[in-house]
């Protein structure tokens, strides 16, 4: 168990290291650098060279990568090219806002998805299953900006129940985001719920047709006891990994949603930084997002292992 844990952890660290290399190389390949961004029109000749020397951009790429990466490990993400502020503080507020958005969506979406997944799985091929499964395909495939636009029109403009756009700024207190956060949360929840629900459904169907559920039935176990004691603990295991993958998707989907609703989160900031060519910020956000993705998936692997007696006692005999 400990060996597996260490193995997974090392793989995760290796992945993050490769990501950081890719990010650094990609940003390096972009035309322009921090100095062209700072100096804008004046970026030429002597001034550009001075600036580069000042910021240390004229040194070899590998040296700068090592410096950047070791800084990132210590929590120092560098300086924004746009306003010369430390990136860590700029990103901090926005990261908090994005976590609020993602947290609300997960808190709403995961229970809903598990409930609907189990429901449709148990009522396989009945009308309620067909209806919900079809809605799920719609919810998970239509682009977020389309859903968002429709929701803004219906609930923001037509019915006027909730604001169609978030007006709070990046450093606003969390309470300032309500009720503007409602629509973005709904959009994110819809897609996520649909994905998780489909996996849970197919897993419940598999388990309910398994030999051990048939055996439990023939043992005289009442239906709901079969569902809760014999079927669900086994059926929900695969959901853990899918939830992790969905969180990975959330990190990308949140970018579009934040932009659509003008939500001052990490994704919105990333788009702005790319438009402004604020490359150190882009690098930092990419690294944060990738680390989060790897971390969540690692956690899911370990959690799935902890809940699965088969994996927990892997050392047991093999045939």
């Amino acid at each position: 168990m400990l060996r597996i844990f260490i193995h997974r952890l090392l793989l995760g660290i290796a992945t993050v290291a490769i990501v950081s290399g890719i990010i650094f190389a990609a940003v390096e390949a972009l035309p322009g650098d921090a100095c062209t961004a700072i100096l804008q029109r004046d970026a030429s000749g002597e001034r550009l060279a001075n600036c580069r020397r000042e910021l240390g951009i004229d040194r070899p790429a590998l040296t700068r990568y090592v410096e950047w990466a070791s800084g990132a490990v210590r929590g120092d993400l560098g300086i924004s090219a746009h306003n010369n502020k430390p990136i860590a503080s700029l990103v901090g507020d926005r990261l908090k806002n994005t976590l609020l958005l993602a947290g609300c969506s997960l808190a709403l979406g995961i229970p809903l998805a598990l409930f609907l997944g189990v429901l449709t799985g148990l009522r396989r091929d009945k009308l309620s299953d067909l209806a919900l499964s079809t809605i799920a395909i719609f919810a998970m495939t239509i682009p977020e900006f389309v859903t968002a636009t429709v929701l803004i029109f219906v609930f923001g403009i037509w019915l006027g129940w909730v604001p169609g756009i978030v007006t709070a700024s990046a450093s606003s207190s969390l309470s300032a985001f309500f009720p503007g956060i409602v629509l973005p949360v709904i959009v994110l929840t819809m897609v996520m719920t649909a994905h998780i629900m489909r996996t849970v459904r197919s897993s419940v169907i598999d388990v309910m047709s398994s030999d051990y559920v048939q055996m439990a039935t023939l043992k005289g176990v009442p239906y709901w006891q079969i569902v809760f004691r014999h079927a669900l603990p086994n059926a929900l295991l695969p959901a853990i990994n899918v939830i992790a993958l969905t969180v990975g998707w959330l990190l990308g989907g949140v970018v579009v949603v934040e932009k659509v609703f003008n939500y001052p989160g990490l994704g919105h900031y990333m788009i702005d930084s790319i438009s402004d060519r604020d490359l150190p910020v882009v690098q930092a956000i990419a690294l944060i997002v990738a680390t989060a993705y790897v971390g969540v998936n690692l956690a899911a692997d370990l959690l799935a292992m902890a809940f699965n007696p088969r994996l927990r006692t892997l050392k047991a005999r093999s045939p």
Partner: protein, 673 residues
């Protein structure tokens, strides 16, 4: 001794809706009553509907099935129309199931103790405080050692035999009146199977339970049941006491089935039962067996025979039961192509060792050899031109691994394979010469796996023909048809996909593909174990035929345990006088469809994790262990006669004299030809 009727199935028909929208029956007009005190065996091949019938006796239908007509009574009440809350009390409480695959029938997330406690809570009349003691008692009842330890385990931590015992304990937990056994020993090793069967017949007698035992295996049924029901194509075709059904049955199908079972005591090949049962809904107006029946007459095709009483007792579904007796049940049939003189040595395995252990990264860096005991070790076998040699052993004995090494799919860790006087055979396929590749052909156990599901039979046969002989166009097609005919399949099979063929037909195609290469050495890996009994006989018969064509034959047997040789010698000698303790146990456990046959139980059914690092491979289970020498020293070779070698510490005189009379059965599956 027998009492009133407990289980009463009346005119039951069950079916499913096919793609065409037609209702296709799986069971047709089943009438079957089981009295208190009876042990009834229901025997039939796959698709005969026997499992559906068993589950219907508990009021359970699998997804997609529905009742067409009839009732399934238990103690006078119809289970098929009973509300589910009452059904729950009867299932497990009055009638309990012991399932086929216990490994998959126990919930993986619950400890064994918790699952037994659940059964007690549902049906027991015990106080809550008495549960733990009762759990231990139940586990003891099924002869599990260390019941406390077993109760705290998860199902996947137990061996197959232990899982099956837990399932039996679970069935006994509700103290039911009747036990339903659905192929309870299928998939277990023969020695384990013998233990479970002994336990079951003991329970039937000691605890006085009604038993309904469903199996494809007449040998297993012979050990437990007093009455046998034979099913064919969803119908009961024969019902009678075990002795008459197993020795002189009154139905042509039952006689054919008996004849198709290979028996160790008889050197003749089993007789094949050609053809296959009609698929559900496809039986004509007449008798469902008519197409395969040797004594069928014209009226058999037009009128469906009823289930009529036999004068000697029992019932039979046949118009001509008095004539059925003319069909032989034993292999009066042809003997296997006789042996005699063999040619030059073709293959010699010398001191062969095979290891699946992979070098870990650390080992690679330090330049160490892979750790661990090799899967197969110290195997010495010589195969001569035209000889058939059987490798015998249970799962994990290394039979398949040895075949794969000879085929060049697994490289040996030590020793060598000498071939056809050309010296050592290169270890892997990539290094071998085309001629060597052609001359050594491998046939796999399961044709579903070994035939590409997307290729037509023509494409499958074309592969060796193109590769080895460069055939194409008309020549290729002609040759393919000729090969198909040799395995008794027609040219119209060429365009079909494997999924459109039956199991036996698929295995014939696999055999045809191997023979298309015109091999000198044919490696057959349990080629019949995935097939129904009657089909097995046909495949063995076919192999024997083809063997004659390539001028081959004899019969030597090598008994393997944990990848090490125990005994090797002429088949007749090994089977009639097994010398090595393991051979003795193995052959003693083989099931024969003889009423009254009882197994000789020797080795306890434990799971071996890996072969012992030194000494005798069989040391942990041996019932005749000499002493510490068995654990420390590799057993010497002892000669028990011409070419008969035994690897054992026991002196040869003792080995050959201490004879137990054993019933003999067929454990010779993998042939190396």
């Amino acid at each position: 001794m027998t009492g009133d009727v407990l289980i009463d199935v009346q005119n039951l028909s069950i079916g499913f809706t096919g793609r065409s929208g037609k209702l296709l029956p799986v069971l047709r007009n089943i009438d079957l009553g089981v009295r208190r005190g009876e042990t009834v065996g229901i025997v039939g091949e796959s698709g005969s509907g026997k499992s559906t019938l068993a589950l219907a006796m508990m009021g359970y239908l699998k997804h997609g099935l529905r009742v067409i007509s009839g009732r399934s009574l238990f103690d006078g009440r119809d289970l098929l129309t009973m509300p589910s809350c009452e059904l729950q009390r009867i299932r497990g409480g009055k009638i309990a199931l012991i399932p086929q695959n216990s490994g998959q029938s126990l919930s993986p997330n619950l400890r064994v103790g918790a699952q037994l406690t659940e059964a007690l809570a549902l049906h027991g009349k015990l106080a809550l405080s008495a549960f733990p003691a009762r759990v231990i008692q139940l586990l003891q009842q099924v002869r599990l050692p260390d019941p406390e330890v077993i109760a705290s385990r998860y199902p996947h931590e137990l061996s197959g035999g232990q899982q099956q015992r837990v399932a039996i304990a679970m069935a006994l937990a509700g103290d039911p009146e009747a036990l339903l056994l659905d192929e309870p020993t299928t998939g277990l090793d023969v020695t384990t199977q013998a233990h479970i069967l002994a336990l079951l017949s003991d329970i039937a007698v000691r605890l006085d339970k009604v038993m309904v035992y469903v199996s494809h295996d007449l040998g297993a049924i012979a050990r437990v049941c007093s009455r046998v029901v034979v099913m064919y194509a969803g119908e009961i075709v024969l019902d009678g006491d075990a002795t008459s059904v197993l020795t002189n049955p009154g139905h042509p199908y039952a006689r054919g089935l008996l004849a198709s079972i290979p028996r160790l005591g008889n050197p003749n090949l089993p007789m094949a039962l050609e053809g296959r049962p009609p698929p559900p809904g496809d039986a004509g107006p007449g008798c469902s067996f008519v197409d395969r029946c040797a004594i069928a007459e014209a009226p058999c095709r037009s009128e469906r025979p009823g289930l009529q009483p036999l004068p000697a007792g029992g019932r039979v579904r046949c118009r001509l039961p008095e004539r059925a007796g003319s069909i032989p049940t034993k292999r009066a049939g042809k003997p296997a192509s006789a042996g005699g003189s063999f040619g030059e040595p073709l293959v010699r395995l010398s001191n062969l060792a095979i290891s699946y252990a992979r070098q870990s990264l650390v080992d690679q860096l330090l330049g160490r050899k892979p750790q661990g005991v090799p899967t197969v070790d110290r195997v010495n076998i010589e195969i001569r031109q035209g000889e058939v040699i059987g490798l015998v052993g249970e799962s994990g004995s290394g039979k398949s691994t040895i075949l794969k090494a000879v085929a060049g799919l697994v490289g040996p860790a030590n020793g060598e394979i000498a071939y056809d006087r050309s010296g050592a055979l290169p270890a892997t396929v990539e290094q071998r010469r085309p001629e060597q590749l052609r001359e050594i052909q491998l046939i796999f156990q399961n044709p579903d796996e070994s035939l590409n599901p997307r290729h037509t039979i023509e494409q499958i046969l074309a592969q060796p023909l193109q590769l080895y002989f460069g055939l194409s166009g008309d020549a290729l097609r002609k040759r393919s048809i000729a090969i198909l005919e040799r395995v008794r399949l027609g040219a119209h099979y060429l365009d079909r996909l494997p999924s459109q063929l039956s199991g036996g037909e698929k295995q014939r195609v696999a055999i045809a593909r191997a023979f298309a290469a015109e091999p000198k050495l044919l490696l057959c890996d349990e080629v019949t174990s995935a097939l129904d009994v009657s089909v097995q006989a046909a495949v063995l018969d076919l192999l024997d035929q083809l063997r004659r064509d390539v001028r081959a034959l004899s019969d030597r047997v090598a008994v393997l345990y944990q990848g090490r040789l125990c005994e090797i010698g002429p088949a007749a000698a090994v089977y009639s006088r097994p010398c090595h303790p393991y051979t003795e146990a193995l052959l003693g456990a083989v099931l024969e469809p003889e009423p009254g046959a009882r197994p000789i139980l020797m080795a306890e059914d434990i799971v071996e994790l890996s072969p012992p690092a030194k000494g005798c491979p069989f040391q942990r289970r041996c019932h005749r262990k000499v002493g510490s020498i068995c654990e420390s020293t590799t057993p010497p070779q002892r000669n028990a006669g011409a070419e008969h070698v035994i690897h054992c510490h026991i002196p040869i005189g003792e080995l050959t004299s201490a004879q137990t009379v054993s019933t003999l059965g067929n454990a010779v599956r993998p042939h190396v030809q």
